[in-house]
Each structure stands twice: as structure tokens, then as C-alpha cells.
Amino acid sequence: MQFIRPVLHSQVCTSARPSARQFLQKLGKSCSFSLNSSSTRLYSTEFFPINDELYGLTDEQKQLRQTIFQFCQKELAPKAQQIDAENDFKDIKKFWRQCGELGLLGVTAPTEYGGLGASYLDHAIVMEEMSRACAAVALSYGAHSNLCVNQIVRHGTDEQKSRYLPKLISGEWIGALAMSEPNAGSDVVSMTMRADKQSDGSYVLNGSKFWITNGPDADVIVVYAKTKPEAGAHGITTFLVERDSPGFSCSRKLDKLGMRGSNTGELVFDGVRVPADRVMGRLDGGVYVLMSGLDIERLLLSAGPLGIMQAACDTAFQYAHIRKAFGQSIGQFQLLQGKMADMYCRLTSGRCYVYSVTRALAQGSRQPMDCAGVILKCAEDATQSALDAIQILGGNGYINEYPAGRLLRDAKLYEIGAGTSEVRRLVIGRAINNIYKS
């Protein structure tokens, strides 16, 4: 593990220890022994345990998981249902600040900008535990910390990093990335947004972007536009656009099936002027920034469905051992044992795949085939596990008071965003073709 220089977080993170505190309060404020030992039986195993020994995590990573688990279960999980119902995360600014204090918004960013300088695996662990608590907020978190922050870390000039990273990492600003357009999703390089060079060296952006996570709230956006439309894919350039640029607006917040609370919007660029020093990477070389970024995005986001699968096991397994029918808990019937076994194997094998690929990436080996494979597998498995969770909960799985329905609606997004399952299969298939090319 690399040595981490002390981070400039002088401020004490005053967030409280989670349910341990509520547990103590329930035991009685008494200064003496009023402990009724039977009260400990109220707290059955609410969470399906994770055996970190299987994944070769370091002690620090195990502790990291513990910390993020406690933080998210306290600060996020209790609000997840309400966030979904209202399609809004009202406390997002406060939550972003809390994440900033813990260094979570810049896990892979260098310490001199306030980041943790840690690995993609550490980032994946954070993403996973946050997704377990609330998949929608975790998606916004992923878009901010990986799609925006990490792209600036990888491709920004020193000036751009100094200007944008500190506030993005402290949580004062929210970040986003905009590539897709209403008519360019899977075929993203066919995008039509133009960036026309002006006489003073600046660029004027015209067009719109669609399905942009954090779009309605973002202060800084990584935007891809065509500086040379006639060159197709090789005419794309990456820009850093700030929210208060004249001509920029978010025309609407989308009303989605799932991931409700992760504000997604349509962004309109109406003659938005971007200075020349806001070009990120090589002029007309944006496709490399985009494609390599997509690999890492897929990899990091695959921890999202992992968290959903874990949440599905947390909910369904506990339910199966409390709910009784025909004289015993339903978890003891074979058909449900089978379902739980399948959910467990999808989750565990998914984790092994994700952690292995993140480790390889940390060593410098980026394999597009595996980045696509990891999210392809985990996303489809998460949908299936969420369906199983609903089924195990039976009638209660169909009621929105229980989280199973939300898990399904959230899981489905991961089969679409960051490249649909179809595109992912293409990427893998073509990579295999390449191996056999004569």
C-alpha cells in the first residue's frame, strides 16, 4: 500500500456513530445497570455478513468498509425510501460535505488537492457500501467522484486541477459528465453538439446533452463536443464547463423508473462560450479521453450493482428467516434455499470479478474487455437478484413500504447506463475477435 501523506482535513467529522448510539439509547439512559438483557434480542442480524477473507482485502480495506458501512447506514439508508418517493435528495449538499470530510469525493485524486491518493479498489469499496444503503445517491456519487473528478485527475492540466479539484473534493461543488445526446446514446461518437473556435481562441458550444446524472445540480461539467464534425469520432474535444456560463441551462429534471433521487437532466448549451484553457486533453483527441474514461467508469460503477445485490440479500435473507408459513420459517423451504443460494453466488462471484479487475487496473493494466465484462455481469445479476428478493418477500415484496421493489428499479439502470448490455457484449466480442485476427 502506498504511503498516504496527511490530508488537510483539520475539521473533525462530527457525524455520529450510527445505530450503535440508538442501541445504547434504547438500553436506557440510566447511569446504572437498568440493562434488561433481553433487549439485545431485539436486534437480529439485519445485515447479511460479508466475509472479507474471501477477497484478499488488506486490513485497511476491511476497516474502510466498516467505516463507510456505518456512515452510509446512518446518514443515507434511513432516507432512501423517501428520496425514491420524492425523486429528490434534499440533503445532497449536506451529504456531499460529509463525504468531503471523509475524503470520499476524491478517493483516487492526489492528496495535494485534498484527495486520498488511494486505489480504484478502495473507491469500489466505498461505492459498494454506499450503493447498499441507497443506490440512487451512490450513482450520483459515482458520477461525481469518478466520471468528473477522476477524468480531471487523469487529463486535466495543473491549472485545471488546481481550479476545480479542491472544491469538487471538499463537497462544495457537484460534478457531472456529459457525453450522451437525445439522438446519440450507444452511438455516442455520432454526437452533434458543436464547439466552434472563435477568433480569440475560445470555443462556443451549441447543442444539448441528455440523461446527464447530476446535470440539474452540477457546478462543473466535463463536456464532449465536436470541434471537427467532418472527422467523426476523431473530431471530438473535451471541455470543462461551469454552471454559471451564460447560455448554459438544465431544461428539465427527468422523471425516471428508478435511481430516483439521482437527479438526471437535459442540458442545453445555447452559445456557451468556453475559454481555450478549459480544453482538457488534446484538441480533437477527445475520443481517447472518452473511451478510456468509459472503461474506468464501467469498472467503478460495477460496484453499484454489487451493493444492490448485497442489499437484496440483506433484506430477503432476514425476511426469509422471520416470516413463517406452514409451521416454520420460509427460508427453510428448498425452493427459497435455492433462491438464496443463487443470490449468494451471484453476489460473491461478482465481487471476486470486480475486485480482481480493480486490482489489475491499480497495477496499470486496463482491459476494456474486463471493464465491460464486469459491469455486464453484475448489472444483469443485480436485476435477477432484485427479482428474487421481491419473490422471497412475496406479497410484501410488491408493497413499496419494503425496499425490494426499489432495488429492482434501481438495478435495471445498470444494464443501460455506461453502455447498454448490448454494447458491452459488442466490446467483448470484438476484443475476442481481435485476439484471433490473422
Binding site: 462530527t14 439509547q25 433481553s38 485497511e60 486520498l116
Partner: protein, 271 residues
């Protein structure tokens, strides 16, 4: 605020107080505890353990006192099995400077009682010479609420238990501790060195951040044995049996006050 009126020279040397914090490794609060079939105790094998919540509060207080420059050094100590080192690492990750592990062999672990722990801590205090010992008021596994009090008695130090606030006294020569008692709050001044036990409302512990978790690995963790400290771990009590509490029987709902009184009469509970 009181900070600017403190004359550091008054507070036991200009370097600030030296604090010793006790941490116990207990079964995690969220685990469903199961009694062993032979009724000799509860199942601990393979069960999730973590730091006693009141000890987390004690650790947090020590770290805060360091940040306020009231304390110069904070040392964590745990008496327990080899796995207690994980508990100490958590304390180090929260900001404690160094740790001491008094390792208890497995055979003696189940019979370890507060009297033994307080004697071990007293011995360590003789060599470490802390100005303040902060312990959790009780552990959530045995709920004894004894170690702090016994330790103070063994050392003949003042004690301030169930603390909900610790600050320097008016003249900065002592510690002013607010205690949570049955009747409300009691404020007392204690001279240092002293033993304080933490209650729930003393503070809200912080989350260990990844940089601090990494730093914790490099902080010193010393090991000791009860033999080295010259403490006899002979049990004073024998646990005869451990049983589940009786299952709570279902109650009956009543429609009105008359019904309620009628039922109470039936059961002979009111005349």
C-alpha cells in the same frame, strides 16, 4: 469559551495531560446473541466483534482533548485475546497516539472479571503514569459497570463516573466533570490524576477516515502479559449457568378502562 483562559502550566505540565483510554472488544451490538447449548456462556466463535460503544466515546473524548490541546498524549489499552489488536487499531485510526495490548490467553479469557482488569490497568498506570484514565462506563456484554470504580479505588484516585462533559475547572487546576445521575446532572471538580467513565452523551464518535486508518498501521502497539504485570487472574466467581431470558408472553388488548380494571381484578392484581 474556556479554552483561552486555560493556563497550560496549571494543567499537569505544559505538555498537556497524558490520557490512558480503555477499550474492550465485545460482541457487536447488532449481533443476535445465542446461548451455548451447554449453558456455560454465549457463542463467540465466528461472531462479529467490535469496540464497546462506550469505549468509542471514551476514545473520541481523548482525541478531542488532544485537539483542544488539553491533552498532549493519548494512549489506548485493551485487555483481551489476540484479536483485541483490531480494536486497538480502530482507536489508533480515530487519533490515539499509541496502544498497549495486555494479551489474555484463551483459557483464562472466559473467567476474566472486572477485578482482574482493574488490577492490570492499575499496574500499567504505575509505569505509564497517566494524568487521566477514561473508560467506558460499562461493557455491553457483561454490563458490569465496575472496572472504572475499582481502578480508582486500587489507585486511590478520585473518580467521576457517567461523565457527560469534561472540561477544566474554573481555576484550571482540576477537571470539572458533569455526571448523569438518576436525579439529573451533577457537576463535580476532581483533581488529577483521576479516573473518568464515559456516558452516552459525552460526545458522538467520529468515523475513522482512510488516511487515518493507513496512518494507524505505523503507530506503536506494545504487547504485555498478565505475568509481566504480576497480576493473578484466579477467578473470584464461578458462572453456574447462562440462560435465555423467559420468552415474553403475548398480552391481551382491552377496549376500555373498565375492561382493563376488570382484567386486573380477575388476575388478583388489584382489589
Amino acid at each position: 469559551k474556556y479554552i483561552h483562559i486555560i493556563n497550560k502550566a496549571d494543567m499537569a505540565a505544559s505538555k498537556g495531560l497524558k490520557i490512558l483510554v480503555g477499550c474492550k472488544r465485545v460482541i457487536d451490538y447488532a449481533v443476535k446473541v445465542r446461548v451455548k447449548p451447554d449453558r456455560s456462556g454465549v457463542v463467540t466463535e465466528g461472531v462479529k466483534h467490535s469496540m464497546n460503544p462506550f469505549d468509542e466515546i471514551a476514545v473520541e473524548e481523548a482525541v478531542r482533548m488532544k485537539e483542544k490541546k488539553l491533552a498532549g498524549e493519548a494512549v489506548a489499552i485493551s485487555v483481551g485475546p489476540p484479536q483485541s489488536q483490531e480494536t486497538l487499531r480502530t482507536a489508533l485510526a480515530m487519533g490515539i497516539d499509541r496502544a498497549i495490548h495486555v494479551e489474555i490467553p484463551l483459557a483464562q479469557l472466559e473467567k476474566l472479571q472486572p477485578i482482574h482488569v482493574s488490577k492490570l490497568l492499575a499496574k500499567v498506570c504505575e509505569s505509564e503514569k497517566p494524568d487521566l484514565v477514561i473508560l467506558g462506563k460499562q461493557a455491553i456484554d457483561d454490563d458490569c459497570n465496575q472496572t472504572g470504580q475499582m481502578l480508582a479505588a486500587l489507585l486511590d484516585w478520585p473518580q467521576a463516573t457517567f461523565a457527560s462533559k469534561i472540561e477544566p475547572s474554573q481555576d484550571s487546576k482540576q477537571l470539572r466533570v458533569t455526571r448523569e445521575v438518576d436525579g439529573g446532572l451533577e457537576t463535580i471538580d476532581v483533581s488529577v490524576p483521576a479516573v473518568v467513565t464515559s456516558d452516552l452523551r459525552l460526545n458522538e464518535p467520529r468515523y475513522a477516515t482512510l488516511p487515518n486508518i493507513m496512518k494507524a498501521k505505523k503507530k506503536p502497539l506494545a504487547k504485555m502479559s498478565p505475568d509481566q504485570l504480576g497480576v493473578d487472574l484466579q477467578p473470584r466467581q464461578e458462572v453456574i449457568s447462562v440462560e435465555d431470558p423467559p420468552v415474553r408472553k403475548a398480552g391481551a388488548k382491552v377496549e376500555s378502562v373498565e375492561d382493563l380494571v376488570g382484567k386486573l381484578r380477575e388476575k388478583g392484581l388489584v382489589k
